[in-house]
């Protein structure tokens, strides 16, 4: 191939990758909702859990604290901040203790008689009205009478005030300067519910930005500080930390890789060419995921690039076998059976994740399989056309020669391999420690100081528990509200017994139609009301005739149709009801949020007494989901392992050779699992993926050693290739294992240990000299 045509091909290749990359970049939507990495629901119970994990009001709630030297400034800022957030698209409910009595639209004012529970236990008769009017006289001579006076002609029983009071949280923080403050009176407290799900870090990030800029705009004092806590705030924080650390470690590894490759080949063109298959793999992988799924998850992206890093080994193998007099094309042709076996078997392993039932993993699978296939094919068909004539031959290295000689002299302890395998299996089987990690949160643990602060704020604000939630399901909103109404007295008993700190349920804001109609029926007709009112007024100092607006409102209320879930627009409880009463595909769901759950079993018992009411333990439920998901993935992996054996067997067609190639990787998997277990690391999904990655690497090393035949020069070239491959991989993952975050450490440690073990075992069990001795 001439220099000019070579240049043209290089440009065409780079241009194709660049155009594809640009297109992908334009259309790709990156999602961050962690639920994508949870199993697709199969039962209605699972669907419920997945809906609530991200949708439950508790998981969307941010607890905010504004602190500073001047409480008045904190209170003013709290008011301004709440107003800004209420107007923003990111938040749907903001509470800071401000009374919003006057925000009820005039048209709904008469509804107070249908919404307030007063009429359930007392009738609007002369006795009740007299008692109420006497209280009002006292109110008028109390301080603050001016607040009530304008309302009295319309609302002598203060129904509106009772309603507003009943809408306040059952246990609320103290009010200072008209807003919530902590017990010490130094921090203004707020609760803000985001529209975005709590476990969607990207949308939570947006909400956090809106919150911060709203705070900057509304702060009245430069010394004020805003703190936010809750699942959403944590997911933003942990994503930033994970990303930050991964980027930092990633940059170091890239520098290290470049130095390593330059040391190994002493050629800049080789370095650049070596990267082309990897970049092509990444871009086509993304394009494939984008085409099939529409979106790609952030984790798929980050993790996928780690996994296809293996593709770097393909050009390394090609270049290491390059020597004077050998045409790169015939080199590639000679290596292809080995390379193709490696690529195909690794792809088979990753294919297992496609059937895992987890969308995120299916994406990961499509990404890696496509990527690795592209990397393998470009290494075979495009790269050889571009690799320059090499003047260096790895086989000439005297140091490699000596190393190979030393290795050849090593014993071939096949019995040790068998013994190690048995020892690992027995150790793990007999160990009492749990092998698996079911708590997803353990992988990205939140600093204890933040958790302590969160529970402190939760306590102060009486904010709902993030773990427990009662779910009421039925065909329509009315049935859900009726069930909630029937449940209420039982919950009250639990609160009285101290089993429960408090609760919140939709019927508290929106009574069922049945209840509203019952209250409406209890309203006296206008003539009767006028008579009893006059009777009550007889003994009070009120002027006659001032309560006409009251009579008119009651007369209106008698004609009102009961309010439904959609009629609350513009009221202070609109957002509360819309987060507690949800319309699903073909049914309605009512949520009862719980505070201070001291005895979950007791709550579960009262839930069990009525059909369609479930106590969700989100922690337990998600752990169950994780373990069920793992079971399925393990089955998929078992099938993949069998397919892998078939692929290798089809390529090598010799039981002994197959055994030699597969032994290092199988043994390595057992050793790494035992090692992780011994060091007290429970296995998670990420360990499983990392184990598959390590196994794929091991298979490649073994295949190439096996391929090296008896030619000493080839053996040295293979050793060179495998040393460079494993050194570069080890560098990347050893760095990752230094991370402070368990999720990154899990991947780093597993793969690093796998690389070392695979390399050593491939030398001990697969090297060709061993074969000649058999």
């Amino acid at each position: 191939m001439t220099r000019a045509r070579r240049g043209l091909l290089l440009i065409a290749w780079i241009a194709t990758v660049a155009i594809l990359g640009w297109t992908v970049n334009r259309h790709l939507v990156i999602g961050t909702d962690l639920r994508l990495f949870m199993p697709s629901p199969r039962t209605s119970q699972e669907r419920l859990i997945l809906d609530e994990i991200g949708e439950g009001p508790a998981s969307r709630m941010l607890l905010l604290a504004i602190s500073g030297p001047d409480p008045q400034a904190a209170a003013d800022t709290s008011r301004a901040l709440a107003a800004t957030l209420r107007a923003s698209d990111e938040f749907r409910l903001v509470a800071n203790g401000e009374s919003n009595l006057l925000t009820i639209p005039d048209s709904l004012l008469a509804y107070r008689y249908l919404l307030s529970p007063t009429l359930d236990h007392s009738a609007l008769d002369a006795g009740f009205l007299r008692a109420q009017l006497e209280e009002r006289v006292r109110d008028l001579s109390s301080p603050g009478a001016g607040l009530l006076e304008p309302w009295l002609p319309r609302d002598p029983t203060l129904e509106l005030l009772k309603l507003a009071d009943s809408w306040l949280p059952a246990r609320q923080p103290q009010l200072l300067h008209d807003v919530w403050f902590d017990a010490s009176g130094k921090e203004a407290l707020l609760v803000a519910e985001t529209r975005a799900a709590g476990f969607d870090p990207q949308s939570q990030r947006k909400a956090a930005d809106v919150l911060q800029s709203a705070f900057e705009d509304s702060r009245t004092d430069g010394n004020l500080r805003l703190e936010s806590s809750g699942p959403g705030a944590f997911s933003v924080l942990m994503q930033e930390r994970t990303q930050g650390e991964a980027q930092w470690l990633g940059s170091i590894s890239v520098v290290g890789m470049v130095i390593l490759l330059l040391m190994a080949y002493r050629s800049l063109p080789v370095l650049v060419l070596g990267l082309l298959p990897l970049i092509s793999a990444g871009v086509t992988g993304l394009a494939a995921v984008g085409t099939i799924f529409g979106t790609v998850h952030g984790i798929t992206l980050a993790f996928g690039f780690t996994l296809i890093g293996v593709a770097q080994d393909y050009p390394i193998n090609l270049v290491s076998h390059q020597h004077r007099g050998l045409d790169a094309r015939s080199n590639a042709r000679a290596l292809w059976p080995t390379l193709a076996t490696g690529v195909a078997s690794t792809c088979v392993a990753y294919l297992a994740f496609l059937f895992s039932g987890v969308r995120g993993l299916a994406q990961l699978s499509v990404f890696t399989v496509t990527g690795l296939a592209v990397a393998g094919l470009t290494t075979r068909f495009l790269l050889p056309l571009l690799v320059p004539e090499s003047s260096r031959d790895a086989a000439d290295s005297t140091r490699l020669g000596r190393l190979w000689h030393a290795i050849a002299g090593l014993p071939r302890p096949l019995w040790l391999g068998v013994a190690t395998a048995i020892a690992c299996v027995v150790y793990v089987a007999l160990s009492p420690r749990p092998l698996w990690e079911n708590d997803l949160g353990a992988l990205t643990p939140i600093p204890p100081a933040l958790l302590a602060r969160d529970s402190e704020l939760r306590q102060e604000l009486g904010a709902p528990d993030v773990r427990y939630l009662l779910v009421i399901e039925d065909v329509d909103a009315e049935s859900v509200l009726r069930k909630a109404t029937n449940l209420d007295p039982k919950l009250q008993t639990l609160v009285a017994r101290g089993v429960l700190g408090g609760y919140d349920q939709p019927a508290r804001y929106l009574p069922s139609r049945a209840v509203q109609e019952q209250r409406r029926a209890a309203l006296p007709d206008p003539d009767r009301l006028r008579t009893v009112l006059n009777e009550a007024l007889d003994t009070t100092p009120f002027k006659p005739g001032i309560f006409e607006p009251f009579l008119a409102d009651v007369a209106t209320a008698r004609q009102l149709p009961a309010l439904g879930p959609t009629d609350l627009a513009g009221t202070p409880v609109e957002s509360r009801v819309s987060s507690l009463l949800l319309q699903r595909e073909n049914h309605w769901t009512g949520l009862v949020t719980l505070t201070g759950v001291n005895d979950a079993a007791a709550v579960a018992r009262i839930a069990g007494q009525a059909p369609g009411i479930t106590l969700l333990d989100l922690k337990q439920a998600s752990e169950d989901l994780v373990s069920r998901q793992r079971e399925r993935i393990l089955w998929c992996l078992a099938v993949a392992a069998m397919l892998l054996v078939i692929v290798v067997f089809a390529a090598l067609r010799d039981a002994l050779r197959v055994r030699r190639v597969l032994a290092p990787m199988a043994l390595t998997t057992l050793i790494v699992v035992a090692l992780l277990h011994a060091t007290g690391v429970p296995l998670s999904l990420f360990h499983l993926i990392a184990l598959v990655l390590a196994a794929g690497l091991g298979l490649d090393y073994a295949l190439f050693f096996e391929h090296a035949a008896d030619d000493p020069a080839e053996q040295r070239r293979t050793l060179h290739a495998v040393v460079v491959c494993s050194a570069s991989t080890l560098l990347v993952f050893a760095l990752l294992s230094l991370s402070t975050l368990p999720v990154l450490r899990a991947i780093g440690l597993t793969v690093a240990a796998g690389v070392v073990s695979n390399f050593v075992l491939a030398l001990l069990l697969t090297r060709p000299s061993a074969r000649t001795e058999t």
Binding site: S141, E149, F542
Partner: protein, 170 residues
């Protein structure tokens, strides 16, 4: 004694009780007749608690008449001129032995709820605090009066005002 006038009422209502200053700086208004009620004013925060009902809490921002009352107490009883000047313009007339001080709100928000406060006293002793609201409502606080028997039979505003300025009603 405190007498309250409201346009909703046919006749004024009278209550009696005590005002106490606590060591923590709070002011307590305790009604003992004809019912029991305790109001605690601490800084900007007010809580009103009456036997048989839930305490009500609000701040002075929402009860301007209370802020006016408090400021005038501060000025007259404790000589805290700064607090008064922040919210009110002050004018005085009369003599050392028989004086009358009028406080008029400075800002519009306060003006909407409160027209003026008139304090009448003799020598160094204030006798009546009269609070007038723009809608015609108002109240009158007579210090050192134990029961209704010590006030004129009619609780009419003019009658009481005359009684306050009269000087021999103690």
């Amino acid at each position: 004694m405190e007498v309250r006038y409201s346009r909703l009422l046919e006749k004024p209502i009278a209550v009696s009780g005590r005002l106490e200053h606590r060591e923590d700086g709070s002011l307590v208004r305790r009604v003992v007749w004809p019912y029991q009620e305790v109001t605690i004013l601490q800084g900007e925060n007010v809580s009103v608690e009456r036997a048989g009902s839930k305490p009500r809490r609000f701040t002075l921002d929402r009860a301007p008449e209370l802020r006016g009352m408090l400021a005038s107490f501060g000025a007259i009883l404790q000589g805290d001129r700064r607090l008064v000047d922040r919210h009110f313009a002050v004018s005085a007339r009369g003599s050392e032995s028989r004086w009358e001080i009028t406080l008029t709100p400075r800002n519009d928000k306060l003006k909407r709820q409160l027209s003026r406060i008139v304090v009448v006293g003799t020598d160094n002793r204030p006798k009546c605090f009269t609070l007038e609201e723009p809608d015609g409502d108002g109240s009158l606080l007579a210090l050192g009066v134990a029961g209704l028997g010590d006030l004129p039979v009619s609780l009419d505003r003019d009658v009481l005002h005359a009684w306050c300025t009269d000087g021999d009603g103690q």
